[in-house]
């Protein structure tokens, strides 16, 4: 037996402004498209940039645009902006945990590389050797495959 079938938690009134909502969707679609195009342009620009610092700047910019896109999708498509403030807070606040999640993990990943390069000089030397680019044919081989890989 179920009690929830009987719950009438929500009652509608259907007089919401469909036209305005549709306009908002179009506006957000345009914004998302423009941001994506800008991201792609940045991606193309980055191919020509070889300065490490500039590449990081561009990557940072792309990440900012990524967050902007995420904001528009969550706020408008997922409708969060129009929900009650408390609901917004319960969604947004826990996402703050990602800050320390990301910082700690990436810091430790970076430190892992540095420690390994320092205490395992052989590993470091090996990772600096350039290899011949294997000729990539379309019937490219799975010879290069590691042992134990899935077929």
């Amino acid at each position: 037996m179920s009690f929830t079938d009987n719950y009438q938690e929500v009652s509608h009134h259907h007089d919401f402004d469909r036209e305005a909502a549709r306009k908002e969707v179009i506006r957000v679609t345009v914004i998302l498209t423009v941001i994506t195009i800008v991201e792609l342009i940045l991606g193309f620009v980055m191919m020509g940039v070889h300065n490490e610092f500039m590449r990081h700047v561009i990557k940072g910019a792309i990440c900012v645009f990524m967050l902007a896109k995420a904001f528009y999708i969550v706020a408008y498509f997922m409708h969060l902006k129009h929900e009650v403030r408390n609901l917004i807070m319960t969604i947004v606040v826990p996402l703050g945990l990602f800050i320390w999640f990301i910082i700690a993990f990436l810091t430790d990943g970076n430190s892992y590389r540095n420690l390994k390069n320092k205490y395992d000089p052989y590993h470091y030397e090996q990772s600096q050797i350039k290899v011949e680019k294997p000729a990539k044919s379309d019937h490219g081989s799975h010879d290069a495959k590691k042992e134990g890989a899935i077929e």
Binding site: S2, F3, T4, Q8, H13, D17, T107, K146, I150
Partner: protein
């Protein structure tokens, strides 16, 4: 947004409308729908509890077996060979592989299957709808599925005990590369796969349950039950559910990557490995075993509080009820639980100080870890002040609640030791750590669970448990647990390692052989007394003294306004409305004032 208002739908929760219809018709319940595939939260709670008890017996038995080995490393017990066969106990001696399997499964079973599913599964299911004033969980179907996913996980985990190569044996944390390479050990073969499958099913069960708990607490509170009037049990279970919903998925991801490492030739966690058993260097390169540890402990640390918070909540409730005094510092209790819930997510790497993690990052984790002492201390002082000059009734539930506070203090203090990375360099992987977390998380949570079972047994089965057996159970468990774990601190400070099946090879640890034997004897006695509890539990279900009054403990909370044996739907007639917080004990000359009683005109404020 001009149309913002119009996008809001008017929402009305009308519990009452449906409830009145509900009682108009009778539901036909068969044995299957009532006891097996039940959607009644109370029955699901009992299912979780009884499954948890079975698991606890199995997990406890494992510890008795490896304590035999630790206490009597040079004796043989031929009966073990008769029971376990010659592979695991050749000549009556526990074989190394089997010892590691025992330790691993003891940890897995107790942490996940008993103290997570058995504890919060039982009491969240039982208490959330009853104490917030709801007919059932938000989604009774998902609630039922949650139990059955747990059940399937249990079956898979049990099955792993019987495969030829034995169950997982790389420790309950399942660190790679040991867990990632089938050739590395017996337990890393099929047993490890089944372990991962069982744990994945377990995560699904926890998510189904947690989402249900959260939305029930938020959406289905009865009229007048503001969040600030919720009993502390509900607050604790709420934070528990939040912790589970946000941290179990991370473990899930970590397990998926581990499965790929095991079976798809990936190297997420693997690099630079030479396997002694096959005399081969592995091609895997570029992975990091520390990554797995981060992912595991991102769940693993919140998990500690998933285990502890429900016990804290129930203890708060039981202490105040049986001290006949309002809880001291209600908002401080809620605030400190909130702080604990947040900090639980920020401190995971204190489990990894010596595994190769960046030491400077470690120092940040030390700082965050020590911060937990603040909310923990607030809670301890609030419990003590609640007891202070109270009119104490030493029911079995109350005794166990006080025992919980005692263990939480003694185990918590040693947390300050191991939370410091410098001291941890000396103490890590010693018996000191075993002592610390068994007292603060294992025994303390068990005491919270026992307190809850004794206190709410009348609500669950309409009968009381036997008091004499309960008092015997309490005193022997309390004294026994201290006798088992207190000496381990000394062993650990002296450097005696954990996870070793025989330390008699070191002269420096020979001084502990008598102590180890003593610990083993006490742990067998304590285990036997737990069987007494199990007997008491099942005997009382059928033969216990009947509950004659609706509110046997004189308690304020809503569950005692239901009939003695509530049906599915909990209340006959309307759900009561709530007018006050849950802690008006000993106020204005009255022993207690239930939450359902409107605030009187001349009532004093407090």
């Amino acid at each position: 947004m001009s149309h913002e208002a119009s996008l809001h739908r008017e929402v009305v929760t009308t519990h009452e409308v449906h409830h009145d219809e509900h009682h108009g018709h009778h539901h036909q319940e068969t044995f299957i729908t009532k006891y097996v595939f039940s959607q009644d939260h109370k029955m699901i709670a009992k299912q979780f509890l009884i499954t948890g008890i079975i698991w606890a017996i199995i997990g406890g038995l494992f510890s008795v077996l490896f304590r035999l080995q630790l206490g009597y490393p040079d004796q043989s017990f031929p009966i073990l060979e008769d029971i376990l066969g010659s592979k695991w106990a050749a000549g009556g001696k526990i074989q190394p592989e089997f010892y590691y399997a025992l330790v691993t499964m003891h940890g897995t079973v107790l942490v996940f299957f008993v103290l997570t599913a058995g504890l919060s599964g039982t009491f969240a299911n039982l208490l959330i709808p009853l104490q917030v004033g709801a007919r059932d969980m938000a989604s009774p179907l998902m609630n039922m599925l949650s139990y059955w996913f747990f059940f399937i996980a249990s079956i898979v985990m049990i099955a792993s005990l019987f495969v030829q190569t034995g169950p997982a044996s790389g420790g309950w944390t399942a660190y790679p590369p040991l867990s990632a390479l089938g050739d590395a050990s017996e337990g890393s073969k099929t047993g490890m796969d089944l372990w991962l499958v069982a744990m994945a099913l377990f995560v699904v069960s926890q998510l189904l349950a947690g989402l249900n708990y959260i939305s029930t607490i938020l959406n289905l509170r009865t009229k007048g039950m503001a969040m600030t009037r919720l009993p502390l049990t509900i607050w604790a279970l709420f934070f528990t559910a939040v912790l589970g919903v946000l941290s179990f998925p991370v473990l899930f991801s970590g397990f998926i990557l581990l499965l790929f490492d095991r079976h798809a030739g990936t190297s997420f966690y693997l690099s630079d490995i030479f396997l002694a058993s096959t005399q081969k260097a592995l091609p895997n390169e570029g992975g990091s075993a520390i990554l797995y540890q981060h992912l595991f402990w991102f769940l693993g640390h919140p998990e500690v509080y998933i285990i502890l918070l429900p016990a804290m909540g129930m203890v708060s409730e039981i202490l105040t009820t049986n001290a006949r005094k309002p809880i001291f510092g209600y908002m401080a209790m809620v605030g400190s639980m909130f702080a604990i819930a947040i900090l639980a997510f920020l401190v995971w790497a204190h489990h990894m100080f010596v595994t190769g993690m960046n030491p400077f990052l470690g120092s940040v984790f030390v700082l965050l870890t020590l911060l937990i002492a603040v909310p923990s201390a607030i809670k301890v002082f609030n419990w003590l002040t609640t007891l202070w000059r109270g009119n104490l009734r030493f029911t079995p539930g109350m005794l166990f609640a006080i025992g919980f506070v005692s263990f939480f203090i003694s185990g918590g203090l040693t947390g300050i030791f191991v939370g410091n990375s410098t001291i941890d360099i000396h103490l890590h992987d010693t018996m000191f750590v075993i002592a610390h977390f068994h007292i603060v998380m294992g025994v303390a949570s068990f005491f919270g669970m026992f307190a809850g079972v004794y206190h709410w047994f009348p609500k669950m089965y309409g009968r009381y448990m036997n008091n004499t057996l309960a008092y015997i159970h309490f005193w022997i468990t309390l004294i026994g647990a201290y006798l088992i774990f207190w000496p381990m601190h000394y062993e650990g400070l002296a450097g005696m390692p954990r996870r070793y099946l025989d330390v008699s090879g070191w002269v420096s640890f020979n001084q502990f052989s008598g102590l180890n034997r003593f610990i083993s004897i006490v742990s067998i006695i304590v285990f036997a007394v737990q069987l007494l509890f199990v007997f008491n539990f099942f005997y009382s279900i059928f033969k216990g003294r009947r509950v004659r009054t609706q509110n046997p403990w004189g308690s304020n909370t809503l569950e005692w306004t239901t009939p003695i044996n509530p049906g599915h739907g909990n209340w006959e007639g309307e759900i009561p409305e709530v007018h006050r917080w849950a802690y008006d004990y000993g106020k204005d000359g009255r022993d207690f004032i239930p939450q359902t009683e409107p605030v009187g005109k001349n009532e004093s404020s407090h």
